[in-house]
């Protein structure tokens, strides 16, 4: 439900603020822990660092029920299509945090096996550097995402650019690469 295309008047503007506030305070992450960063993500969910105070301790196993995908760890060539599939299954509005240097840019593994940055596959909203980023860094990334959600900046940007990530997927039959341009569905 988005109110961005309506003309703001004195009734719908506060309503939009309410919607943004509720979206930011109940972001539900999808479990996408891959490697070492996943352990720090679990530590963030545990009692010491506690993302439950931001309403985020429910890690949904099903991507259909999740808002946020925290790509925690290195994405290998075999995993990239799976990553895209999980991202596609999520419902709008959805966000992606790229946690750790391996997810942001390939990290220390600049080789044949690792996708050099998960933004080659999915559009990323916040990048959290570190190897692994400590729970404080991840929390900072999450709070940055929250502030971006609350200003509504995220949605406007998506609608302006009008598209999703441009990606190359290996054809399931193994017959080479197919250039696939993914359209972003506008929220209605």
């Amino acid at each position: 439900m988005g109110f961005e295309d309506l003309n703001h008047n004195f009734i719908t503007a506060p309503l939009e603020e309410l919607v943004k506030w509720s979206r930011k305070n109940s972001v539900w992450p999808a479990t996408f822990g891959l490697a070492c960063c996943a352990i720090e993500m679990m530590a963030t969910g545990a009692a010491h660092f506690d993302i439950s105070r931001f309403g985020m301790e429910v890690f949904r196993a099903s991507p259909r029920q999740a808002d946020l995908m925290v790509v925690a760890g290195r994405v290998s060539q075999k995993m990239a299509p799976v990553l895209r599939q999980v991202y596609d299954q999520m419902m709008e509005p959805k966000w992606v945090i790229s946690m750790g240097v391996c997810a942001s840019s390939g990290g220390m593994f600049n080789n044949y096996a690792i996708v050099q940055g998960v933004d080659q596959v999915v559009p990323v909203d916040v990048y959290a550097p570190g190897c692994p980023p400590g729970p404080e860094t991840l929390l900072h990334a999450i709070l940055t995402l929250h502030s971006k959600i609350s200003t509504g900046e995220m949605h406007s940007r998506r609608l302006d650019s009008g598209g999703g990530a441009r990606l190359m997927l290996p054809h399931p039959g193994g017959a080479g690469y197919e250039d696939v341009h993914v359209e972003m569905r506008t929220p209605h």
Binding site: Q77, K78, G106, N110, N111, Y112, A113, Q116, P170, G174
Partner: protein
């Protein structure tokens, strides 16, 4: 096992054979003697104190079976090395170095010993019988050696790629396979060997 509380622990048994303190860099203490190693009829070398049997392709299956019968009941590791960039390595007399080498590390749980077997494999004939029927634990290891180096194991129940996607071409750990670096600003790619 008792119904309450965790399992009983076993008191640690005294070490078999000597109790010298091992310095941190001596993996050689649990090794067969030179005389024992010579009993297999293949060239033997000692690498930092660890016994290595250099077996040829034809005698591989038989020597492994003999080692298994002699009490080496555990397979620790099966891997391969591509010596394309280092052909002049040290080998005992009677062993001609080829491009690929298969390395099998075995352990005897009974005798507390390790042994290593190295087989030279030429590039055009990198084929060996599978050890699956002797040590079922080699199933995944042989698949990895096939995937990464291209060594074929006859008789393996399912010799397919295990780490790379099924339709990947090439064997990544070979020396003539590039590391696949993406050019990065301000950092020069290291030269090839």
């Amino acid at each position: 096992m008792s119904t309450a509380g965790p399992t009983d622990s076993v008191a640690s048994a005294p070490l078999a054979g000597g109790g010298e303190t091992l310095p941190t860099a001596a993996p050689a203490a649990h090794a067969m003697t030179a005389a024992e190693a010579a009993g297999y009829g293949v060239p033997v070398s000692f690498s930092r104190g660890q016994p290595v049997l250099h077996v040829d392709q034809a005698g591989y299956e038989a020597v492994i079976a003999r080692l298994r019968d002699d009490g080496f009941n555990g397979v620790v590791d099966l891997t391969a090395v591509d010596y394309l960039a280092h052909p002049g390595r040290e080998l005992p007399d009677g062993v001609r170095g080829e491009r690929f080498e298969l390395v099998v590390n075995l352990v005897s749980y009974v005798r507390r010993q390790r042994v290593r077997v190295r087989v030279q494999l030429p590039e055009h004939d990198a084929v060996l019988p599978s050890l699956f029927y002797v040590y079922p634990g080699t199933e995944a290891m042989e698949r990895e050696a096939y995937d990464m180096m291209g060594i074929v194991f006859t008789g393996h129940p399912d010799l397919s790629r295990i780490l790379m996607p099924e339709d990947w071409e090439g064997h990544p750990l070979r020396k003539d396979y590039a590391v696949g670096r993406v050019p990065v600003q301000f950092k020069q790619s290291p030269g090839t060997r």
